[in-house]
């Protein structure tokens, strides 16, 4: 009975607030916001929006960076899985996935910017020796107008996410046997994987891919650090308008938020069309039956690209770490002139409060999300109603709405809704806000493993006289411990990374390491940013370590149950 309520609960809990928040954003977009004297509907905000210099360029950059980022990340992940499965690199990368995923987007972006800037780490290492540069060259690399550095920053972060999702889904496909059959037919290993495993894997990771598109088209923090500036991406422009001291710009900002929604939707629709096209091309490629052509370059690319991406991410973070203890450090010195702990000592006393409330919020929202997701999935199993694989438009598909709708589009409206309901900012409200984003990711990480769980186990338990509940608690749950903990870790990481929901719903009164880091980042002190970014990255790492370590510890005598990653 309670189980049956779960899907309903999830949908009302998530969709209700988002639609309400969205309505509060759509109304000002058409001129209705009584607090600012807007009480008639009209198109004036849209006219103002369209007249903004560089608007279409902003839209174009947001749109293309979303698609390119997703395409490149997906290709890198698939090629890696195709070429490296079972190799030493494979084990190595699988261990790195979690730490890579736990690096906050903003920190990774800072790291990359510091790496590739004309005065950055790479230039310092080769200067003045190789280049003769005594001074940083005047080159436009970071924040280039085409958004290339933005895309690079996003790709570095999206690869581990898609990889983790793929690793969670792969065991159900039994890739080893598929490849073995293909190889017995004469296919080279990389080609074999791409032809017999990839087409089956893609439907399973389709929703995460869509989430990446939505995220990449509407991301704010990475775009602020690496994105183009004149004009910036659409999401950054919207934020600037929302933050403009001239309050009348809020109308135009709301119109921009609705436009952002349109851009994200258009990117998703375009991807869908590309999917159809790619399906035909790939079918043709498979039908042709080529067994070895292209094996070598694909194999090299598969290993090389992911290595490059991981290396860039880690060196960037190492650069931040170095900065957090750096004394005076000027171009072209490759290392700081002195090392100091001042910045850490200064930050430590103010760390305890934010760190503990980060942990409380992350754990609470993740636990709630896992319970809700398990209840909904178990209900699905018992009623026998399973949505079609990877379908977006089932009732529970509404769950993914928070990932598709840009945050800024509905959060400001949500604050108004919550205020109208008389809820005052506090931990509870922030936890609820995080739940909106944690639940979809937890569901995303858990659902495939849950749905693909071999039903014979449960049937066996029932035959042996166990009740349905006992079968759940004593058979299904222990067997699914590994994917469940991975889902928890992803949930924790998502919660810890949230800035806008924390700041807006908590009225800034609930400080987390992320809000502290963002506030400090506005002052541009790289040493302080380095300290907070490392703290921010280390918290989710704890979650991931537990997720990987716990099954190994609990099932130390049952190798088959230790899980994949």
């Amino acid at each position: 009975m309670i189980l049956r309520l779960a899907p309903v609960l999830i949908v009302t809990l998530l969709v209700g607030p988002i639609l309400a928040g969205l309505a509060m954003a759509v109304l000002p977009a058409f001129g209705y916001l009584p607090a600012l004297g807007g009480d008639t509907l009209g198109l004036a905000p849209w006219r103002q929006l369209v007249a903004q210099p560089g608007l279409w360029r902003s839209v174009a950059v947001s749109f293309t960076s979303g698609l390119v980022t997703t395409a490149v990340s997906l290709v890198v992940v698939l090629l890696f899985l195709a070429s490296a499965t079972g190799s030493r690199l494979d084990h190595w990368i699988r261990r790195l996935v979690s730490p890579l995923l736990s690096i906050p987007h903003a920190a990774a972006a800072f790291g990359l910017a510091f790496l590739i800037a004309p005065s950055g780490l790479v230039a310092r290492l080769v200067s003045p020796g190789l280049t003769g540069w005594e001074r940083p060259p005047d080159l436009l690399i970071v924040q280039d107008p085409w958004g290339l550095s933005l895309m690079a920053g996003l790709i570095i972060k999206e690869i581990p996410f898609l990889l983790l999702m793929s690793l969670a889904a792969l065991p159900q496909l039994d890739p080893e046997r598929r490849v073995a059959i293909a190889r017995s037919l004469g296919y080279r290993p990389t080609i074999a994987w791409l032809k017999v495993v990839a087409p089956a894997l893609y439907p399973l990771i389709r929703l995460p891919v869509y989430a990446v598109i939505a995220y990449a088209t509407s991301v704010v923090d990475v775009a602020l650090i690496l994105g183009p500036t004149l004009p910036p991406t659409l999401s950054v422009s919207i934020l600037t308008w929302f933050n403009d001291p001239d309050l009348s710009r809020r109308f135009m900002a709301s119109a921009g938020a609705v436009l952002q929604l349109g851009v994200t939707a258009a990117a998703l629709a375009t991807w869908w069309c590309l999917e159809c096209l790619a399906t035909r091309l790939i079918r043709h490629w498979i039908d042709r039956g080529g067994r070895r052509h292209g094996e070598k370059p694909l194999h090299l690319a598969g290993k090389g690209l992911i290595l490059l991406a991981s290396l860039i991410a880690f060196i960037g973070i190492a650069g931040l770490a170095l900065y957090s203890v750096a004394g005076f450090w000027r171009f072209p010195d490759a290392l700081p002139q002195s090392v100091t702990t001042t910045h850490w000592v200064r930050a430590l006393p103010s760390l305890a409060g934010p760190a503990s409330s980060t942990a409380i919020i992350a754990i609470a929202s993740t636990l709630i999300a896992v319970v809700l997701a398990l209840a909904a999935l178990e209900n699905e199993q018992r009623t026998g109603r399973q949505p079609a694989q990877g379908r977006l438009l089932s009732a529970l598909g509404l769950l993914y709405l928070p990932l598709i709708v840009p945050q800024i589009a509905f959060l400001f409206g949500l604050v108004v809704v919550m205020e109208s309901l008389g809820t005052r900012p506090q931990h509870g409200l922030v936890i609820f806000g995080h739940l909106l984003f944690v639940l979809p990711y937890v569901f995303l990480s858990l659902s495939e493993a849950y749905r693909r769980f071999d039903p014979r186990w449960t049937r066996l338990a029932l035959t042996l006289g166990a009740s349905r509940n006992a079968a759940f608690w004593r058979v299904r749950l222990p067997l699914l411990l590994a994917p469940m903990l991975t889902a928890c870790a992803v949930g924790l990481a998502v919660s810890i990374g949230q800035y806008l929901p924390t700041q807006l719903l908590g009225a800034g009164r609930v400080p987390t390491v992320t809000t502290e880091a963002v506030a400090l980042a506005s002052g541009g002190n790289r040493r302080a940013i380095g300290v907070w970014a490392l703290v921010q990255a280390s918290l989710p790492l704890v979650g991931f370590t537990i997720a990987i370590g716990l099954p190994r510890l609990l099932w130390s005598n049952r190798r088959g149950m230790r899980g994949t990653p």
């Binding site: 916001l33 607090a35 600012l36 903004q52 210099p53 560089g54 279409w56 360029r57 004309p118 005065s119 001074r135 940083p136 005047d138 436009l140 924040q143 107008p145 602020l224 500036t229 004149l230 004009p231 929302f242 933050n243 403009d244 001291p245 001239d246 309050l247 750096a326 004394g327 005076f328 000027r330 171009f331 100091t340 001042t342 200064r346 103010s350 400001f412 604050v415 108004v416 919550m418 205020e419 109208s420 005052r424 700041q503 009225a507 800034g508 009164r509 400080p511 809000t515 502290e516 963002v518 506030a519 400090l520 980042a521 506005s522 002052g523 541009g524 002190n525 790289r526 040493r527 302080a528």
Partner: protein, 402 residues
């Protein structure tokens, strides 16, 4: 809703809407009594560790002395607080807002006043306010030409200050015209923050004041003058300047702090800030070399006062007023001016204070990266806020690629 307000007689409630719970600043003892035990949520930009440390000190002192707890709500942008109050007003929350005090000035203040989002007048009733001697220092009651009318209390002073590395430059440019010549001789070594950043916009105003003959027009609303004619010299100037800027003027840093990072990386040789103590603080934090020096342009640079204001729906107005008063005390102001703490200039008229209070402000030692004390005598007042918006729009129109 607090039970105290529920208990208030309904008649009184009707008579004194909507400020029925607001304490009367004229009865200071009552205000102090009411403030006891309150927690004041102070929304303030938190991008500077020194500022944050100072606010922590204020909290300590307020707890010890007045039994008021101050919570620093850390913002990356003051407009977040404006948005919050606006959202609360939209939702009809008129008495139990989440913000008690905001660090504010300029456009944000103008916007909040225009939208009726502030409580007041209260500033002139603060006992320590008299120490600013407003009759001699009109800037403490004027915010970007707008009279504050007691809706915000002065807190500190900022002024455009240029800085450079004396190991690299012997004589930096002393005025806006010389700056152009210097930029031509040193291509790629100077830039200004991207509009609509606050510091960047101030650079536009500084240049406009120097280049145009119509200074008076700048202190009245922009609608009253011919914008195109007044600003023509500015655009000519910028069109000539941009090719010689960092990245050839195709890209601009995001903010004042970013400018400082570029100085630190050695990409720029000359930069400016709105916070006169920033170069000295950056030297102390080993961000800038010890050979860094500061100066102001001949004829003065733009400066303004920053304030604290109380939102109309703050539930702890008494506490907020007591904090605002403490911030104006010689003790708090001297502490704030101390570079070891923060280095933000006082709004008190130090020369008119009694000797004991004056002694608090005595500088212990000269810091070579700091401005000499008399350098800030030439402060140009801020133009009318409408010019800022108009300049920003015109700049974006001109320099953003379509």
């Amino acid at each position: 809703m607090p039970s105290r307000t529920l208990a208030a007689a309904p008649l009184a409630l009707l008579l004194s809407m909507p400020l029925h719970a607001a304490p009367d600043p004229a009865d200071w003892d009552a205000v102090r009594n009411e403030a006891r035990g309150q927690t004041v949520y102070w929304n303030a930009w938190a991008g500077d560790t020194r500022t944050n440390r100072y606010l922590e000190w204020v909290n300590q002192r307020m707890q010890d002395e007045y039994d008021v707890t101050v919570v620093h709500v850390k913002l990356d942008d003051t407009s977040a607080a404006v948005s919050r109050v606006l959202a609360e007003k939209s939702a009809g929350n008129r008495e139990d807002g989440s913000i008690d005090l905001i660090w504010i000035n300029g456009e944000n203040f103008a916007a909040m006043r225009a939208a009726d989002l502030l409580f007041g007048p209260f500033a002139e009733r603060l006992p320590n306010f008299a120490l600013t001697y407003p009759e001699h220092n009109p800037e403490v009651v004027t915010d970007f030409t707008l009279p504050t009318e007691g809706f915000e209390a002065p807190w500190g002073k900022a002024q455009i200050t240029f800085y450079f590395d004396s190991a690299e430059i012997d004589s930096p440019p002393r005025d806006i015209e010389a700056l152009l010549a210097w930029a031509e001789a040193n291509p790629g070594r100077f830039t200004y923050p991207r509009i609509p950043d606050f510091t960047g916009s101030t650079f536009l105003k500084q240049a406009l004041l120097a280049l145009s003959d119509a200074d008076e027009a700048l202190y009245a609303p922009v609608e009253e003058s011919d914008f195109t004619a007044v600003t023509a010299p500015l655009w000519d100037y910028l069109d000539t300047l941009h090719p010689h800027l960092w990245r050839g003027g195709r890209q601009f840093p995001a903010s004042g702090p970013e400018l400082r990072n570029l100085m630190s990386d050695g990409e720029l040789a000359l930069a400016f800030t709105f916070i006169p103590s920033e170069p000295a603080a950056a030297v102390a934090d080993s961000e800038l070399p010890p050979t860094t020096r500061s100066y102001v342009l001949e004829g003065g640079t733009l400066g303004n006062v920053h304030f604290v204001a109380i939102p109309f729906n703050s539930p702890h107005k008494a506490g907020a007023m007591v904090v605002a008063d403490f911030l104006l005390s010689p003790e708090a102001q001297a502490r704030k001016q101390d570079l070891a703490m923060w280095g933000d200039r006082t709004v008190l008229d130090v020369a008119r204070l009694d000797e004991q209070a004056q002694a608090l402000f005595a500088l212990d030692e000269e810091n070579p990266a700091m401005l000499p004390p008399d350098a800030l005598a030439m402060t140009l007042p801020e133009p009318h806020p409408s010019w800022m918006t108009a300049l920003q729009e015109a700049w974006l129109e001109r320099y953003v690629r379509n």
